[in-house]
Symmetry: C2
Subunit: 135 residues, 2 copies
Amino acid sequence: MKYILTFVALAILSVTTYAHNPNSEPPTKTMKTSSVQHVVLFKFKPETTPAKLKEIIAAFEALPSKIKEIKGLKWGTNNSPEDHAHGLTHAFILTFDSAKDRDAYLPHPAHKAFGTIVGPWIADLTVVDFADQAK
Amino acid sequence: MKYILTFVALAILSVTTYAHNPNSEPPTKTMKTSSVQHVVLFKFKPETTPAKLKEIIAAFEALPSKIKEIKGLKWGTNNSPEDHAHGLTHAFILTFDSAKDRDAYLPHPAHKAFGTIVGPWIADLTVVDFADQAK
């Protein structure tokens, strides 16, 4: 009897572990091929103070908590030694599950509110979105 | 006795599950904050044929198999409706574990060879690298 109970406990735990693991093969593969990367590169006006920059970055970092379609955020300052940045100093990459989710993000009130915060300080920006096609 | 065995099985499985779960908090946070994203955006010359484009993309997609420092590759064609792409149509994001690995990639013979394939067809390019600082 004790072996049966142990086996049952193991079986239940194995199933639970698989179900809760976001890296289980099938769902991960599906998400990868359909995910949309939203790449935003900023060049700020020279008068943008460090305090203002901090405020802008904090506002961007708060977006995933306000917009459920955002599934990932990476950001940082340019450190490329290749000299092809055209003065763009700050990069943000948002990940969406689909172009539909990206489309829901663009007119979202929280995104619009961020636009009014960052807008006056932008000297130049580049935005490229793409559905990941890597094999 | 059977309860003790069941408890021991549960305890062992819980510890094993935690240890094997790549989403366990400490290791994920550490890897995430140190990764470097290498963002490459291309605008191709009008005379770049679809066949040539296919060759260029295949050559880029082959890089991770030739350069061990490349830990991830995503790529796709621009589908942003925001009109801030400045004619850049193709995006590639390479992931490295560190700026040191990115520095090893740049002069790598396989990367240089790719440069000779793509170079003659580039009308414009933007490259921004950053160490991910997202919390």
